[in-house]
Subunit: 259 residues, 4 copies
């Protein structure tokens, strides 16, 4: 096994899914994709069936509620018979992405190989798209691996990004890796300033996703969820800032190498 | 063998330990954990039984007393029949941690696999927790892999960290890797500004550890030990600062690539 | 397969080439080499026969015209019976180079091994050479693996770079790797300030290359092509700058690790 | 073969050396060690018998005199029957060191394994030691793997560095790796401000080395050699500075990823 690869721990064997759609929503700009996917998982009652670890994730653990420690990880959930069309979904969420370019490529490749085993036919990736300042009704932009999907996006009143740079990280790589293997894919990007947990942007892409996949979802609790995440991050940032202040004042870095 | 893995050199074979507890205390914030563990090793007379090297450690050697060169390394010690309950301990100390995320994960994994061979049942990791300025009586905070251990920590009047970010490096990773394999663990963190060798904070966590594991330890020499380390680091920092000043003034970096 | 290696996807098997010359022109300073090679491919009607991917490329995809996603990749084209001497060419172009030193070396090595299978006899690499400000008629500088080729360059009125540092990236490494295997090579470098798409510099090296290889090429559309690339990059830069502004203002980085 | 390993190309087989001493002098602070070793190779007429390449070296080539391209590499020379005691030497020089920590460790390990095949019994490494400003008669400092060698250094009026940080890079790692295998070693460090090619410091360590190994060497041409190297580096630095100025002014970095 490669140093940078994903270690996939299967929690539920023998799941039968009917041509599932694969949805990626790992942490990124404004937490837009992640917030939307976490909400879907809760509201629609998705089941976790695999956990993914990697030596390319940040070398740390998180302290959750009540002092309980949690690993950096990605998680796979499934949903069956969603919406009018009774489609099956596999959803990738988590608290991190790989730190190194090689790690990014190899983890996405390993996960894609794994979910291909369930017969996935399309990929949706969700993330944020940077805008200079908050807007009242954030737009949703799209990009796709092929023209047919661009037409579908236009049919849902999704704006098309064009000729303007890249999609960095898992939201880009899953589409690129899919493209090389003939799996069609779409990226939905909600406008966000990116420096706060953006519930409005998450709601905007969730509405477009439910329109595209023909299911209904209540978004009332989305704001509440965003607020919780905000508080947790504010705490973490404060702690980190304290650390940085100290490190700049003294020479804590030096302590690292000399015993 | 992976590029980033640990190379474990066993110094004493066939050690018999009875369900030992594994204690990690590698260099980190304020040298709190390391200072506490080094003191335990000296005071209780622990025996070194393995040395650990890795290509992911900083690419250098250290100059010790009298000009003698020493490698960057981690070390494993054991203690038998400690305290009232006659428990056995394996203690991990050293002068460095891995530089890269992958190195951090893989070295911790290799060491954990190795000490599991001795039948370890619990993991204690020790480190510092950043506070803005020095306090007279530093608090000890804790986190754990499970609720039962949180209760034990509370029983020893240890404050519980909650929802506030992460534990970075070996002190976090051993708990996370243990958690994935069903090994319970606890992290003890002493409050410290982090930019000096903090004997008070080391003493505070040592007192809590001895309470939790039911052994006695004299901490009189802890201050002395902290002072020695302070002087060694001050010298090293001065040397490094001189180097940085020169490199900024001239272009020493360029010399590196052009012969 | 190594983590950093090239994955070569062959699009056309059994191509017969007669002692082809290998030309490298990946993105670099002022896009000089790339612009020249892309123009050659279009004007002379070269055929793409292989695509190259790598986990060492930037972990992202690009959004091309009309929202269609494209992978980061390198591409190999061939041309038969070019110019008076009816020489065959293999041309390496693409939208990226590897991010890491190891990736740079290993991808170049893999590509060189691959094109050696077609019997290549010489290597030409093309790039930009930094000058402080734009000049009206940029000079072309050369370097080579051996004295015979230096004489050929002088015969084409190409200035010789000497004793002044290095050639960084693929344009250097292909020559260095070739040198170790007895394959002779030449680097052509067009003067460029490097911070804009430099059609004049690209034209200058294209004229020298066509002189050296004895073929004719119309450069009328080179300016037009440069203009298109300029617009695309301006858009991408603006987007990236917006992102940087936001990240500096807030703490978007923190969002990455904490879910 | 590991990604970061050394590729050793043997130029002369079946060399018979009698318990040779291994001398390392790769580029570092003030080029002190390298300058001393290059001078020894020239003055004493050493023979090159191996070249070493690695994907962990900087990804570039150098342009030497008359536009001829040279690889980044390390080189091994040997000398037989040197000085009064007719000792044999293996000398490691080159134009670079590895960029990554893992590369540093693995290349040094590969080279040490290789020279151990010739029966080396001791290691000398040579480098610079930073001082704030130039001095008229730079001191030579030493460190060693064992007390016996410290005594030998003292006998040659070499000052002993003690308790003051580390020796970074190949000069440290060869001693550390040797120490782990029972090969004794010594590091000689000439005082140098480090930001220019320091012939005085090189001469100082060369005099100490010749005293320790009991051979004579004329150092008249050392200044001349230092001057040549200075000019070459000045040119390279100017070029690099021009590049940096441009990159800061514009956005040349962006050109890298977008085709």
């Amino acid at each position: 096994m490669s140093v940078n690869a994903a270690e996939i721990k299967i929690l539920e064997e023998e799941i039968e899914l009917d041509n599932p759609i694969f949805i990626e929503a790992l942490p990124g700009l404004g937490h837009v994709g992640k917030l939307a996917a976490d909400h879907m998982i809760d509201e629609l009652g998705a089941t976790k069936f695999a956990e993914i670890y990697s030596p390319s994730f940040p070398p740390q653990v998180l302290i959750k509620e009540e002092g309980i420690i949690g690993n950096m990880l990605n998680e796979l959930y499934y949903l069956k018979d969603v919406g009018e069309d009774k489609i099956d979904l596999i959803i990738l969420v988590g608290n991190t992405q790989a730190l190194s370019p090689e790690g990014q490529y190899l983890i996405c490749k390993d996960i894609l190989d794994f979910v291909k085993g369930y017969g996935i036919t399309r990929i949706f990736t969700m993330g944020g798209m940077a805008i200079p300042q908050p807007v009242e009704n954030p737009n949703v932009y799209g990009a796709a691996t092929d023209e047919a999907n661009i037409e579908i996006l236009k049919g849902a009143d999704i704006k098309i990004r064009s000729n303007d740079g890249g999609i960095v990280g898992a939201s880009g790589l899953f589409l690129g890796l899919g493209l090389r293997q003939g799996i069609q894919g779409v990226c939905l990007m909600g406008e966000t300033p990116g420096y706060f947990i953006d519930a409005e942007s998450a709601e905007a892409i969730l509405k477009k996703l439910s329109l595209l996949l023909n299911f209904e979802i209540n978004t009332d609790k989305l704001d509440e969820r965003a607020e919780e995440t905000r508080q947790m991050i504010a705490k973490a940032q404060k702690m980190e800032q304290d650390l940085i202040n100290k490190n700049n004042a003294g020479n804590a870095d030096d302590l690292r190498y000399i015993g």
